[in-house]
Structures are given as C-alpha cells and as structure tokens.
C-alpha cells in the first residue's frame, strides 16, 4: 500500500513535470467523455420521458390510409370499431398542420371537444367556444402574443380568422406543446375545410391493455384500409428515434469515439524519447519491470479516471442543468419553433459503467503496453536511445 502511494507520488510528479502535455490530454479526454456522456444521457432521458408520458396517450389510434397515404376517416368507421368487444370510448380526433408564411414556422392545429378540465400546465384555460384558442409557449413567443391576446390565422378558404388566446401552455410542457394551437373541434373542421362526417383519425380506448395487439388486428381485419397504431408502438418509435444507433446521435457518437481512438492510438504506438530514457534510468537505479508497469498504470489511471469523472459530471450538468444547450442546435435541424428541453434528470448506472469501461480501460492499457515493451529492454540500450 505504502509502496503504491509512493509510486502515485512519483507518477504525479512525473505528470507535473510534463504539465502542459498532461493538461492537454486531460482536456481532450474530458471533452470526448463529456460529449459521449451528453449524447447518452440526453437520448436516455428523452427515451425515459417518452415512455412515461406516452403511457397516457390513447391506447390505439386508427388512421385511414388511401393509396398508401394518411386520409380522413369517415364517421361510420367509428361505429364499426365500437362494435368490437373490449373497446371503450372511440373518439374522432381533428388535427392538421398550418404553415405560417410570416414566421416560416409550421404549427400543429389540434381540436378539443371541450370536455377536458383545466390543465395544470396551462396558464388560462382550454378553448370552450369558437373564436378561442390555446397556444404553446413557442407560438406565444414567435407571434408575440399571450393570454387575452389575439392570433390571426389564414384558413383553407384564404380568409384571415381572428382568435382570442384564452390559454398559453407553460414552458415546462414545451416538449409536448411548443407548436400546438388548440381550437374547438368544430373550429378545426371549419378552419381546414374538412368534409362533414370525417375526422383526421380515431382514438380508441381498450379496456384490457393485454388485448391491444389482438384488437389492433381485429380493426385491421374489419377495416382493411386502416392502420391501427398501438400505444406500445408510440413508445417504440421514440425508443428507435433516440436510440444511439439513430442517425445524428451515431454521427456525433462516432466522431467522439474516433477522436478517443486517435488519442489512445497515439499513446499505444509509442512513447516519447524522454519517457523511454526515464524508464531506462529507473531500471538502471534498481526499479523492477513490475514497478515501472505499476508507475505507468497509475499515470494512465490518474489521467483516465480524472477525465472520466470530470467528463461524466460535465455531461450531466450540460444536459440537465444547462438544458443541453450545445446539443440542441445540432438536433434542431430546420425547425423554426424549437422547444426548450426540461428533462427529468436520469442517470443510468449502466451508462456510467459502460462509459467508464469504454474509456478508462483502453486508455490505461494503451499506456502500459508501450511502457512494458521499453521496460523489458536492456536499460543501457534504452538510455542510449
């Protein structure tokens, strides 16, 4: 124990002697770990958030498809679905998209039947009548309006319609409501000019959650031109979207991993002439090969452990305290109305251990191997270079 403490002392002194090099390695290593940790924590928090929130989504959504595309669903389909055993409420949903040429943003216009009670995350209330709307925080900001303010939208007949804003969703719900405009169902039908007796899709309540797949199958059999989407599929969609394998996440992830590999490769392919000479001198004054390896092990571990711990903490702070401000512009794409991420902190030990194993182990190994090669060579040869 005392011996190892002394070796750590020597290792630290040796790192301090090369302080600029050590500092540069620790900084680069910390940044790589922080980037990896940010991506893993961010995607894992979004997946957890999706799993928690979408658990309250409709059990089953039934869309009608025509020519492979989403089409409006007729009211009689609702009646047919209701006849299937095990099904509760079947409600038509009215929604669509609205492009605002003034701001260049797309909004989602969604209908409500007015039965929903007032919501905690809504300042004001939901629209109860025509001419009223509730909007997301993103729209309130971009249109510079708020509760008791006004919102003018152009309907499908190219006529401007004035709505009174009766509610604004709080920023804490931005992930769900940022681009939403909530209108009364009849208002949505008029606004988009939907033909009478048709809805955008149908939300179905299923009493027994274990029967979801069976009921989805029955709906598909009964109405072959429909596409039933179960709640578990919603969750699975977000699982895939935020999986580390998915597009951008993988791109950023691979860039960070490649940067780390270059760092490790640089270490593994050789040590500097100064370091070789140092090992030679240590051997000449009586250090064993095992002592030299222990010294190099501690040198590697000091750098890797410090960088890993600092990087992981930085990743956590970046994602959960600073709302992932460095990742957000990368993820934003071309969205004009982009939400702030108020994610529930989530730190999976699995992520921390994986990150630790994938960064600390290869770095320490790549420090020891070239040192071992030098340490087994004759000290005189090493010192002579």
């Amino acid at each position: 124990m005392i011996k190892h403490l002394k070796i750590i002392d020597y290792a630290l002194a040796s790192l301090f002697r090369r302080k600029y090099k050590s500092l540069a390695i620790i900084t680069a290593f910390t940044l790589v770990v922080a980037a990896l940790a940010s991506i893993l924590l961010f995607s894992s928090a979004l997946k957890t958030e999706a799993a928690h929130l979408l658990d309250s989504a409709p059990d089953l959504i039934v869309q009608r498809t025509t020519g492979g595309r989403h089409d409006l669903i007729p009211a009689e389909y609702t009646e047919k679905i209701k006849d299937i055993a095990g099904i509760g409420a079947v409600t038509g949903r009215y929604w669509g998209y609205y492009y605002d040429p003034l701001t260049g943003a797309n909004y989602t216009v969604q209908g409500t039947d007015g039965t929903a009670k007032n919501l905690e995350l809504l300042d004001g209330r939901l629209p109860a009548d025509r001419g009223e709307c509730a909007i997301g925080a993103g729209i309130a900001a971009i249109k510079k309006t708020g509760t008791s303010g006004e919102l003018i939208l152009v309907n499908s007949s190219n006529t401007g319609v004035l709505y009174e804003v009766v509610g604004v969703f709080r920023a804490a719900s931005s992930l769900l409501t940022n681009d939403l405009i909530i209108l009364a169902n009849e208002e949505v039908i008029d606004f988009f000019g939907y033909p009478p007796g048709k809805a955008t899709d149908v939300a179905v309540q299923v009493y027994n959650k274990n029967e979801l797949q069976t009921i989805a199958g029955k709906v598909k059999k009964l109405l072959p031109d429909t596409r039933p989407i179960t709640k578990s599929e919603l969750v699975r969609t977000y699982d895939m979207v935020f999986n580390w394998r998915s597009g951008l996440m993988l791109t950023v992830f691979s860039a960070a991993v490649i940067a780390f590999c270059i760092l490790a490769w640089d270490k593994a392919t050789g040590i500097s002439a100064d370091e070789k000479q140092e090992i030679g001198i240590l051997k000449a004054i009586g250090w064993d090969t095992a002592d030299v390896l222990a010294l190099k092990f501690w040198e590697g571990l000091i750098i890797a452990l410090t960088s890993f711990l600092l990087g992981t903490i930085a990743g956590f702070v970046h994602v959960f305290f600073l709302a992932a401000f460095l990742l957000a512009p990368v993820i934003k794409g071309w969205s004009v109305v982009f939400p702030e991420f108020h994610l529930t902190p989530h730190l999976d030990p699995y992520i921390v251990f994986t990150l630790g194993f994938l960064t600390v182990t290869p770095y320490v190994a790549s420090t020891i191997i070239p040192a071992w090669k030098t340490a087994i060579t004759d000290p005189e040869t090493v010192m002579r270079g």
């Binding site: 403490l5 750590i8 002392d9 630290l12 929130l53 658990d55 309250s56 989504a57 409709p58 959504i61 869309q63 595309r69 949903r93 943003a105 797309n106 989602t108 409500t112 929903a116 919501l119 905690e120 939901l126 997301g136 993103g138 804490a172 719900s173 992930l175 769900l176 409501t177 681009d179 939403l180 909530i182 939300a203 596409r227 039933p228 989407i229 919603l234 969609t237 977000y238 895939m240 979207v241 998915s246 951008l248 791109t251 000091i302 410090t306 711990l309 600092l310 992981t312 903490i313 993820i331 794409g333 071309w334 969205s335 939400p339 529930t344 902190p345 989530h346 730190l347 030990p349 921390v352």
Partner: protein
C-alpha cells in the same frame, strides 16, 4: 501533504459529486419532478397527444409515430433527405409488426 493524498482526496470528491448526481436524479424522479410529470401525463391524456413537438418542419418529423411509410421519401425512393432532422428521425416501420 503528499501529492498522492491530494490526488486521492480530489478523486473522492469527484466520485462524491457523481454520486450526488445519481441521488439528485433519483430524488427528482421520485419526488421533485413527480408532480410536473403527472401534470404532463394529464396533458397527454386530455389532449390525446401522440408525439413530441421537437421537429416541426415536416409531417414525418413532427409526428414520427403517425406518419405513413412513404413520407420520409416523398419525392422518390432513396431520394436525398430534405431536412436535417431526418438524419435523427429515421423512418419507423411499426404497423403489422415490421421493425427495423
């Protein structure tokens, strides 16, 4: 004081900081954000929401779970992706049990 003891002290402080991150996340999940989470669940239930409002530039990025299979390739199969978000939101095949 020996350098090794300073290093061990600093490392222990970092480990404690990481453990406090764990504890913070745990308490936020169990008590701190529980009310906020319930409020969001209530919102999803009342409005029948199905997707996150992250990418609003196209139908298939705004509602990845609701989109038809062809939307991400609206021009022709294997056309170049129009939107940067399309590199995050890959097409999702879910209906009928198809998975990627």
């Amino acid at each position: 004081m020996r350098k090794s003891k300073i290093f061990i002290g600093v490392t222990l402080a970092e480990v404690l900081l990481l453990i406090s991150c764990f504890l913070f996340a745990f308490t936020q999940q169990t008590t701190g954000r529980q009310l906020e989470l319930q409020a969001r669940q209530e919102l999803v239930q009342s409005l029948g929401l199905t997707d996150f409002a992250i990418w609003t530039e196209a139908r298939y990025t705004r509602h990845p779970s609701q989109t038809d299979f062809f939307s991400p390739f609206q021009e022709f199969p294997s056309a170049f992706e129009h939107f940067p978000a399309g590199s995050v939101v890959a097409p999702v095949f879910t209906a009928g049990g198809r998975t990627r």
